[in-house]
Amino acid sequence: MSSIRISLLVFAIIIFSGTRTVFSQDARTILEKLDQVIFAPKDKQGQVKIILMKKGQEEKVREAFMMQKGTDKKLYRYTYPESQAGIATLSLPDGVMWLYMPAFGKPKKISLLAKSQAFTGTDFSYEDMSVGSYAQEYKAELLETRENSYILELKPDAEKSNYSKLILEVDKTNYYPIHIDYYNKKGILEKEADYRYRKTGKYWNAEEVTMTDLKKDHATRILMTEVIFDQNLSDEEFTVEKLVPESK
C-alpha cells in the first residue's frame, strides 16, 4: 500500500516538475524572441526627445541625437536645451562611459559605480538602460498567457540588481515588450514602464517609452523619431575622439 503511495507521489513530482520545466522553457523562448526583436537591427540612429514629468505636468525637455550599435555601444549628443547642447555621452561595453562637456573641452571617463543611479535626471536607472539581453540576464517564468500577450516573471541573475523581480508583458504576435513592472528589493512595485512599438521598415522599434516612478509620482517619456536602421555604422563612430565635434 505504502509503495503504491510512494510511486504515486514520485509520479506526481515528475509530472509537476516536468510541467514547470515546460513552462520555464517557454518563458525562456519568449524572452529569446523578445531579445531578437529588440536587438534585431545591427545599428540604429535617430532623434530622441526626453520629457520629464512631475505629477503629470511637463517639467523639463531634452533632445538628443542618438546612435547605437549592437547592444552595448551607444552615443547620445544633446541638442536641447541650449545650455546643454553639445554635451555627449558614449556608453561602451562593461559599463564604461565617456562624457564630453564642451565647456570643459576634453572628454572625461566616468565610472558609474552605482547601477541604481538615475540616468541623467530621468526615471531610468543605469541598470534599466543597460540591459544587454533579457534572456541572459534574467531567469524567466511564464505566469499567464493572455489573448494578445504573455505575462512573464523575470528574476535578475545579477546579485547586484536593485530589483527583486520584473513582471513583463510581451506582445504575443510580435514579441516586443508592452509593459514592465519593476519590484524593488523589498518586493514592492516601484516603477512601471509602458512601451509603444511601431514597425519601421523590417524592424519593430520603441517609438515611445514611459517610465513612471510610482513612489515619487515622477515620469520620463522618451520619444524616438526619424529613426533609421542598419547604416553600417563603424566602430570608429563610437570612439572617444568622436565625442568632440569635428569643428573643434
Binding site: L52, E59, K60, Y78, S83, Q84, I87, L99, M101, P102, A103, F104, K108, K109, I110, S111, L112, L113, A114, S116, Q117, A118, T120, G121, T122, E159, K160, N184, K185, K186, I188, K215, K216
Partner: protein, 751 residues
C-alpha cells in the same frame, strides 16, 4: 434675575434634555480633533524669521526630515556598515518615505583612476571589509562637509540614516513605521530617533498619554477633595458632571472649528476640571444654605443670590485666559487662551442652568438637607483652620502684615534669578528618548537647531555660487557653526573631479553643463528650488546659549548687508533666530498678559464693589502671591517657558475670586451694622471655608499635572497650586488685615 431663575426652574427638563443632546453631538466630534505637536507650525507668520523658517522648511523638506541615529564605538566596521545598508533599505521600503540618505547610498563624486567617478560612497553590494578599505572610506568621509557632521559624527562614533516624508503622507504614521521597522531589525548598537517627524510623533504620544492618564487621575483627586468637603454624593457628582460636560463641549467646538490639540492645550481639560468645578461648588453650596417651603423657592432664591457672583467670577477668570491672546508669540498659546476662556464660560453657564435644573428635577430629601446643615456648623476646618486664622487676625494684624511684607521682599529677590528657556529639549524629562536624541545631535552632530541662509538668485550664475561659497566660509569662522552644506559643495567637488580644482567655475557654461550630471539627484531638492531661482545653505547652531545666538545674528547681519546684491539677495533664518524672538516674547508676553489681566480685573472688581479702592485691595493678595510665585521660580530654578509663562495670569484669574468673596462678604456684613471684628468672623467662617475647599480642589486638580510627561506642564501644575495656596492664604490673612487697618484708620479719622 428672578425671571431667569424662575425660567430655569420651569424649563428644567428642557435644559437637561438640551444639555444631553449637545453633549452627545460635541462628544461625537471629539475623535475628529487633530493633535498638532509641531512647534514650527505654531510660529506666527507676522515674525519674518518664523515665516521664512516655515517657508524654507516646507520648500526644502527640512520640516519633514527624520533621522535614525546609530551609535557605536566605531562606525567604520563591516558589520555596522552592513546594518546601515540594511536600515537604509528597510526605511526606503516604508510607504510614505520619499527618500532616504545614509552612508550606504550617498552619491559620491571623486577623481578616479581614469577620470571622474560618479558613484556611491559605499558599494552596498561590496561593502569595504579590509582595514585598508575601511581606512580609505574613513579618510574620504571625514574629508567632506557633506558627510562629516551631517551623516557621521566628527569622532566617527555615530551615524545618521536620514529620511524625508512624502508630501501627502501622514508624518506620524511614517515616523511610527520607521520606529517599528527599525526596532524589528534588532540592531545591537544604540539607536536614537531625531528630527521633526520623530519629535512631533513623540510629543503627540506624550499629549495622548497625558490626556488618557491625567484626566481620570484629576477626576479622582477632585472627587476625593469634594467628598471630604461636602460628604454628599451630590456635592461630588454635580461639580464633576458640569466640568466634564464643559470639557466635552469645549473640545467638541475645537474639533468642529478645526483647531488642533497642542502641547499646551492638552491641559485644557484639567484646567476646566479644576476651575469649572468651583462654580458648581458655589451654586450647590448656596442651594444647601437656602431654606424655603418649596424646591422652586429654594432654587429661585439661591440663583438670584449666586447668579451675578458666579458670572463675575467666571468673567475675571476668563480675563486671565484671554490676556494670552494679546501677549503671546506662539499661536498655540493664543488658542489655549481662547478655548480655556470659552470652557470657563461654559462651566459657569452650566453651573447656573444645568445644576439648578438637576436639583429641581431631583430634589434632595429633607433628611439629607438637615444632615448637611448640621455638618456645616461644626467641622475640622472650622475648629483647626478657620478659628486659628480668625484669632491671628484679631490679635496680631500688624504682625501678619509684617510677615507678608517680609515674604514679598524675600520673594522679590528671586524674581531676578528667573531664567528663561525656549529650548525644546528642556520640555522633555531627563531620560526621555527625544531629549536623549537631541543631546546626541548636539554632542555628535554639532546641534539640532537648523540655520538656513537663503540666496535668491540664479543658481547657475557663477557670481551667486561664489557668494554662497564665501558665505559658507564666513559662517564656519563662527564658533557655533561646525559644518555647512549647499549645492556649492557638490559643484566644487565635480569641478575638482574634472580636473579644474575645488572651486566654482567662473564660466557660466561650465556650471550649466555640470548641472547636466546633477539633474534628478534627489538630495539636490534639499538645497535648490526646482527652477534654480534660489538655493540655501543648510547649517546647524551648536550653542543653546541665547547670547551666542544674538551675537551670531549680528555677525551674519553684517555679512549680509555687505554682500546682498540685486542679482543675489541674501536672507538668514533658523531656530536660533526664532529662539531669540521667542525668548524676548516670553518676557513681553508675561508682562503684557499680566498687566492686561490686572487692569481689567481691577476695573471689573471696582465696578462690582462700586469702589476703585476695593478693586485695588482685591488685587493685593493676588499680586503678592504672584510675586511669591516668581520668587519660588527664581530660587528653585524653574525657568520661564511656554508653559510657566501662563501661570501668573491663570493664577490671577482664578485667585481673584477669593478676594471678591472676602471683600463682598465683609462689606455686606459690615454694612448691616456689625463691627469690624464680627464682620471679619462671619467672613472668615463662611466665605473662608468655601475658599479653602476651592483652594484644595483647584490645587489638587492642578497638582495632577505633576504626572505629566511634559516638563512645562509639570511645572505649570506645581506653580498654579503654589499660587492658589498663596492667593487663598492672602485673601484669608493679608486682605482682612488690610481691611481691618483701613477701617480702623477710617474710624480714627472720623472720630
Amino acid at each position: 434675575m428672578n425671571k431667569i431663575a424662575r425660567n430655569i426652574y420651569t424649563f428644567r427638563w428642557l435644559i437637561i434634555i438640551l444639555v444631553v443632546l449637545i453633549t452627545a453631538f460635541a462628544g461625537y466630534q471629539i475623535p475628529n480633533i487633530q493633535i498638532n505637536s509641531d512647534v514650527i507650525s505654531n510660529l506666527p507668520d507676522e515674525d519674518k524669521d518664523a515665516r521664512l523658517l516655515k517657508e524654507i522648511g516646507n520648500k526644502y523638506g527640512g520640516n519633514s526630515i527624520g533621522m535614525v541615529i546609530l551609535e557605536a564605538e566605531d562606525i567604520f566596521r563591516p558589520e555596522i556598515l552592513e546594518r546601515i545598508a540594511q536600515l537604509t533599505d528597510t526605511i526606503a521600503g516604508i510607504s510614505g518615505v520619499y527618500s532616504v540618505t545614509s552612508l550606504s547610498n550617498m552619491m559620491d563624486i571623486q577623481t578616479g583612476e581614469y577620470g571622474m567617478e560618479i558613484g556611491k560612497l559605499i558599494d552596498e553590494y561590496d561593502l569595504p571589509d579590509t582595514q585598508e578599505e575601511l581606512d580609505h572610506l574613513r579618510a574620504r568621509v571625514m574629508s567632506k562637509d557633506l558627510y562629516r557632521g551631517n551623516l557621521i559624527s566628527a569622532d566617527g562614533t555615530a551615524t545618521v540614516v536620514m529620511f524625508t516624508v512624502a508630501e501627502d503622507a501622514d508624518v506620524r504614521e511614517v515616523a511610527e513605521a520607521v520606529i517599528q521597522k527599525t526596532e524589528a531589525l534588532d540592531i545591537p548598537e544604540k539607536v536614537y530617533y531625531a528630527g521633526s517627524p520623530m519629535m512631533v510623533t513623540s510629543i503627540s504620544d506624550l499629549i495622548s498619554a497625558d490626556l488618557i492618564t491625567l484626566i481620570p487621575i484629576s477626576f479622582i483627586v477632585i472627587a476625593l477633595v469634594l467628598l471630604i468637603s461636602f460628604r454628599t454624593a451630590r456635592g461630588v457628582i454635580l461639580p464633576l458632571l458640569t466640568s466634564a460636560i464643559a470639557i466635552i463641549w469645549t473640545i467638541g467646538i475645537m474639533a468642529i472649528s478645526g483647531y488642533e490639540m497642542s502641547m499646551i492645550s492638552n491641559n485644557i481639560p484639567i484646567i476646566l476640571l479644576a476651575v469649572g468645578s468651583a462654580y458648581t461648588i458655589h451654586v450647590v453650596n448656596r442651594i444647601n444654605i437656602e431654606r424655603g417651603t418649596s424646591t422652586e423657592k429654594v432654587i429661585t432664591h439661591a440663583l438670584v443670590y449666586i447668579f451675578i457672583p458666579v458670572l463675575l467670577a467666571a468673567l475675571t477668570t476668563m480675563i486671565g485666559f484671554i490676556s494670552f491672546i494679546f501677549g503671546s508669540y506662539l499661536t498655540m498659546i493664543r488658542d489655549f487662551g481662547i478655548f480655556t476662556a470659552l470652557g470657563t464660560f461654559l462651566s459657569a453657564m452650566l453651573s447656573l442652568t444645568l445644576v439648578p435644573a438637576i436639583v429641581s428635577a431631583m430634589p434632595p430629601r429633607a433628611k439629607a438637607i438637615e444632615r448637611q446643615r448640621r455638618r456645616n456648623r461644626k467641622s475640622f476646618m472650622t475648629e483647626y483652620i478657620l478659628s486659628p486664622i480668625k484669632r491671628l487676625l484679631y490679635m496680631h494684624p500688624k504682625y501678619t502684615l509684617t510677615a507678608w511684607i517680609l515674604l514679598i521682599i524675600l520673594s522679590s529677590g528671586g524674581i531676578f534669578m528667573i531664567e528663561r528657556s525656549v529650548n525644546i529639549r528642556d520640555y522633555f524629562r531627563k531620560g526621555n528618548p527625544t531629549r536623549v536624541a537631541e543631546d546626541i545631535m548636539v554632542s555628535k552632530f554639532g546641534g539640532s537647531k537648523p540655520v538656513f541662509v537663503l540666496f535668491r538668485g540664479d543658481m547657475q550664475n557663477p557670481e551667486v555660487l561664489q557668494t554662497m561659497m564665501r558665505t559658507q566660509e564666513y559662517m564656519k569662522k563662527s564658533p557655533d557653526i561646525l559644518t555647512t552644506q549647499s549645492v556649492v559643495d557638490i559643484i566644487a567637488d565635480m569641478n575638482e573631479a574634472l580636473g579644474e580644482g575645488r572651486d566654482i567655475p567662473s564660466d557660466r557654461d561650465k556650471i550649466e553643463q555640470l548641472w547636466f550630471l546633477l539633474d534628478g539627484q534627489e538630495y539636490l531638492e534639499r538645497f535648490v528650488s526646482s527652477d534654480l531661482s534660489e538655493g540655501i545653505i543648510l547649517s546647524k547652531f551648536t550653542s543653546p546659549d541665547n547670547q551666542s545666538k544674538k551675537e551670531f545674528a549680528k555677525y551674519m547681519q553684517e555679512f549680509i548687508l555687505e554682500n546682498s546684491t540685486e542679482t543675489c539677495s541674501i536672507e538668514i533664518t533658523g531656530m536660533p533666530f526664532v529662539d531669540v524672538t521667542m525668548d524676548k516674547s516670553l518676557i513681553n508676553s508675561q508682562f503684557a498678559s499680566l498687566s492686561i489681566a490686572i487692569v481689567f480685573v481691577v476695573i471689573i472688581v471696582g465696578l462690582i464693589l462700586r469702589s476703585f479702592i476695593k478693586g485695588l485691595f482685591a488685587i493685593i493678595p493676588i499680586v503678592a502671591s504672584i510675586i511669591i510665585l516668581f520668587g519660588f521660580m527664581g530660587y528653585l530654578g524653574i525657568s520661564l517657558n511656554i508653559g510657566t509663562v501662563l501661570v501668573a495670569s491663570v493664577a490671577l484669574g482664578i485667585g481673584i475670586d477669593y478676594s471678591i468673596h472676602i471683600i463682598s462678604h465683609f462689606d455686606h456684613t459690615y454694612k448691616k451694622g456689625q463691627d469690624i471684628y464680627r464682620s471679619l468672623r462671619d467672613t472668615i467662617m463662611i466665605s473662608g471655608k468655601a475658599i479653602i475647599i476651592n483652594v484644595l480642589s483647584v490645587s489638587a486638580g492642578f497638582l495632577v499635572l505633576l504626572f505629566s510627561e511634559m516638563v512645562p506642564l509639570e511645572y505649570f501644575g506645581l506653580l498654579i497650586a503654589i499660587s492658589m495656596i498663596f492667593s487663598g492664604l492672602g485673601s484669608l490673612t493679608l486682605l482682612p488685615v488690610i481691611l481691618i487697618l483701613a477701617k480702623r484708620k477710617n474710624l480714627l479719622t472720623k472720630s
